[in-house]
Amino acid sequence: MSLVTVGIADLKVSKDPGDTLVTYSLGSCIGLAIYDPVVKVGGLLHYMLPDSSINKDKAAKNPAMFANKGIPLLFKECYSLGADKKRMIIKVAGGSQIMDDAGTFNIGKRNYAILRKMFWKNNVMIDNEDIGGNCNRTMYMEIGDGKINLKISKKGMVEL
């Protein structure tokens, strides 16, 4: 039994049924959890920004910081542990916003929009999600059964 922390701009994959992957404090960032229930392989990504074109050099060193680099990498790493795209269960959380009437602080929204676009292009369906609002989320993934729990500020623990 071990708790594996996925940092900000980080991803982890596992096939150890005793592992729990956790990523803390998703504000405008997105936590993407993917899981293959047949081989019991799962992965969790915590990305901060939609698109790496803002700085290609930095992106090369920190792929998990960006949706466009981190998402493909997460899938690839799960495939290398034996996961299959067709069986993947996909859950998404985060993308919150601070209070801003004009919507200029909308990185959360853009983080989510690019994920939808990439999934749509690649025929990937989201099974469940908890997105937006102005709460803060911590996301847990059990590798043993793929269960996702969210700890949400103001609400407490809920299963996704």
Binding site: S25, M48, N55, S96, D101, A102, I107, N134, S153
Partner: protein, 286 residues
């Protein structure tokens, strides 16, 4: 005693800002400070001495040999690094006071404070704001110090604050104000006053949620602290029960000429800098 009176008493009872740090800061502020004098001030405090040597010998600097004299380390680090090390050390102890009420994780207030200081520096550097680096760093680092005191008092009022926030119309600070009659920013300003910090810092702390209320001469400083705070809250750095119920100040972005695309770049630069800072400070920045 009214709640406000109780809190004023608690502010009075707060430990002073560490003397050694304040004395060192005053010495460093002299244009021609002497290293020997500075070393005399610092060597009194063993844990500060140890931290200076530790930072100097850290992988970050990659020195070819081990530095074991305080004097050598002080010279090597230079005034700015030294100031930041001293301030962070003092602030981390203040924020890590066991508190309930406002926090979900123990080191959360401290992580948020450090993140805000890092963000403020990134804003200053990349947008070329003409603001004194150390004043900005100090103000950003201590901006939420009022929460340390308020946290202990607010437990029974907390539900009322939360309900106001849940309506989606009040920010956390506004809900504090409506429920208690004052907010953590105001209390933070009182603490900074008690510590005899300069007016610039007192102002920036007092108005970090309402920068438009800051006196004109300290307005830019306060605006940068306010923006740095909003951005660290946005990306999820060490916020507590308040979640993301913080105002973004759109007008501020316009006034400071920051565009949406710039925000992404700033978040990127911030994160890289934050990872480095956390390694140095031994904080789990992850």
């Amino acid at each position: 005693m009214s709640l406000m009176e109780e809190i004023i008493t608690a502010v009075d009872e707060m430990p002073p800002f560490p003397q050694v740090v304040q004395r060192a800061m005053r010495a460093l502020a002299e244009p021609d400070y002497e290293v020997a004098g500075l070393v005399d001030i610092l060597k009194v405090d063993q844990s500060i001495t140890a931290n200076i040597l530790k930072l100097c010998n850290s992988a970050y600097f990659g020195l070819p040999r081990k530095v074991s004299s305080l004097k050598e380390a002080v010279v090597y680090l230079g005034a700015n690094q030294l100031r930041q090390l001293l301030l962070s050390g003092a602030a981390s102890k203040i924020y890590e006071k066991p508190s309930s009420g406002y926090t979900v994780f123990a080191d959360e207030l401290w992580r948020h404070a450090l993140a805000t200081a890092v963000m403020a520096q990134v804003l200053r550097q990349h947008l070329r704001f003409k603001i004194d680096e150390n004043t900005l760093f100090t103000a950003a680092l201590l901006h939420d110090v009022g929460k340390v005191v308020l946290s202990a008092f607010v437990i029974d009022k907390y539900r009322a604050i939360e309900q106001l926030v849940e309506t989606g119309e009040s920010s956390f600070q506004e809900a504090e104000r409506q429920t208690l009659g004052f907010d953590h920013a105001e209390i933070g300003g009182k603490i900074a006053e008690k510590w005899e910090f300069p007016d610039a810092i007192i102002t920036a702390i007092s108005f970090h949620h309402e920068p438009a209320r800051a006196a004109k001469e300290f307005r830019l400083l306060t605006e940068i602290v306010a923006l740095a705070n909003s951005l660290t809250v946005m990306v999820g750095y060490g916020t507590g029960v308040d979640g993301l119920a913080c105002r973004g100040h759109d007008l501020l972005l316009k006034k400071l000429k920051i565009e949406a695309r710039d925000l992404e770049k700033l978040v990127l630069l911030f994160q890289l800098e934050m990872v480095k800072t956390c390694e140095d400070a031994g904080v789990d920045g992850g």
